[in-house]
């Protein structure tokens, strides 16, 4: 635990030895090349996804239920492995990471899980702090950083409550706090506003935009039409196993995104 440094810069160092690869700084932070993922042979989920995400970008990902948004994100943080194709993180193929390096990759990626992945019998504080604890930080540092993160998601002063008793939206915000508390290079947010009311959803979107302005790359998977309307960011639609760039002017969206309901 002593070997790893904290990632509070935006230069990912996911090698165990903490060696910094200076060439990586000039490459796109994330490149997906012909990525295939097949769970059931009759219905492949991703069928050749090509996607390049630059350092500091903010990308919306959308698509119908079961399209493969979560799968795409899981491939990036290596909870699933690609069947074909490559995923390059800072120019390095994550398929070739040793088992010992995967934790170091994950410390550079903050994930808001669609199903939260909280420990119900831990307190809010513990659930957020764990992301810093595994890095071996000092308790004092952890306390102040967790408090800050909870404040940003509107849960200040609720650190001592058990997560199990929180409302759906509150739990979702705990997950968001855990994802951003490490100040990672990349944040993957999977449907982070599904349980939030519209006002709070916009607030949280604002939070991610703020983080993005600080230099963090944000990939934001969502179904929420309002958010897509409000924020004129790059938009990727996953449909039929492929990625389609869908913000060639909002007009271009109509057909792919909507199956009939127009966006504006």
């Amino acid at each position: 635990m002593g070997r790893s440094r904290v990632s509070n810069s935006f230069r990912p160092h996911f090698r165990p030895d903490g060696h910094f690869d200076s060439a990586a700084a000039h490459k796109p932070i994330l490149v997906l090349e012909k990525v295939m993922k097949v769970f059931r042979a009759d219905a492949p989920v991703l069928r050749g996804v090509d996607l390049t995400i630059e350092r500091g970008e903010f990308v919306f990902v959308t698509g119908p239920s079961g399209a493969g948004k979560s799968t795409l994100l899981k491939l990036i943080y290596k909870a699933e492995t690609v069947d074909e194709g490559r995923i390059l993180f800072c120019g390095r193929d994550i398929a070739r990471l040793t088992e010992d390096s995967v934790p170091h990759l994950r410390r550079n990626i903050g994930v808001v899980f669609q199903d939260f992945r909280l420990v119900p019998y831990w307190t809010v504080f513990e659930n957020v702090a764990v992301a810093l604890q595994v890095m071996g930080l000092q308790p004092r540092v952890i306390r102040s950083r967790v408090a800050l993160a909870l404040e940003r998601v509107g849960l200040d002063g609720r650190g001592e409550e058990k997560v199990a008793v929180l409302s759906g939206g509150e739990q979702q915000r705990v997950t968001i706090a855990r994802a951003i508390v490490t100040e990672p290079a990349v944040v993957l947010a999977d449907e982070p506003t599904g349980n939030l009311d519209p006002v709070l959803a916009l607030d949280i979107l604002g939070l991610f935009e703020e983080i993005n302005e600080g230099g963090t790359t944000v990939i934001f998977a969502t179904h929420d039409r309002t958010l897509l309307e409000v924020s004129p960011r790059r938009l990727v639609v996953i449909d039929d196993g492929r990625c389609i760039e869908a913000r060639a002017g909002l007009a271009g969206l109509g057909g792919v995104l909507d199956h009939g309901i127009s966006l504006n």
């Binding site: 994950r106 420990v119 831990w122 764990v130 595994v134 855990r178």
Partner: protein, 287 residues
Amino acid sequence: MFERALKGLRQQLGTQMMSVATVALALFCMAGALLMLENAGAMVRRWGAPVKVTVFLAEGATVEQVDSLRRALAGLPEVEEARYVSSAEARQALSTGGDQAVASAPVELFPATIELRLAPSAVTAERVASVALRVRRIPMVSEVETYRGFTERLRGLLVGGRAAAGVIALGVLLCVFAVVSNTVRMSLAARLREIEVLRLVGATRSYIRGPFLIEGAMLGGAGALVAVIMLGVVFMTLRTQFELSLGAMIGLRPVFLPWRVLASLVVGGSMLGALGSAAALRRGLQS
């Protein structure tokens, strides 16, 4: 790491205590078997080891005859020592147990003997039998007792006991392994959510596994310690009772296990626990 292990232990105190008790019970069985074996060994050493032959003398033998016989017997290559025991001495030897009846019995009841002690290197059934045969032919000898049957039975029992203890020990070690492994698997199962979260936020393998290995070692070690203490208490309690009855009857003074065996039980227990834990982790952290 140690702190997190303790936290885990506390979380499921009931289960953990249960498995310590089980490990203790199993190791208690094993240590008990070892103890019995140790004592049986002592018994065999006392009764069977320096093979003894008793030559009963006919009643009319004169002192000179007896002495020349004794010297002749002492000269045999297999015999290490030949000692004349008169009737009076025999009676006295038998009555040292405090038995009034023996002490006051007429001296003629106890025939004079020559006790032979054979060289341990010569102790084979045939050698003893041949000595007995040769001696029995001497006219002034009434009978020769080689205690062969008894000694052999005793050795047989000891061999059987050793085999049984070996089987028990194997079973017990397996049991300890399984119990600890199982308990750790429970701990794992109860904290699967936690472990998954740890993994997802980038905890290293050792960070995740460390506390469970410590937990396993502590379970095994604690179980062994409890077993040793239990055995000690039982031994203390029963020693006097045993010495006064069955022990006196079969001439056995109970001994406890040596310190080194006890220490290696505890150390072995905790190592086995850690191993069991590692096995559980190997299986439990797959998914």
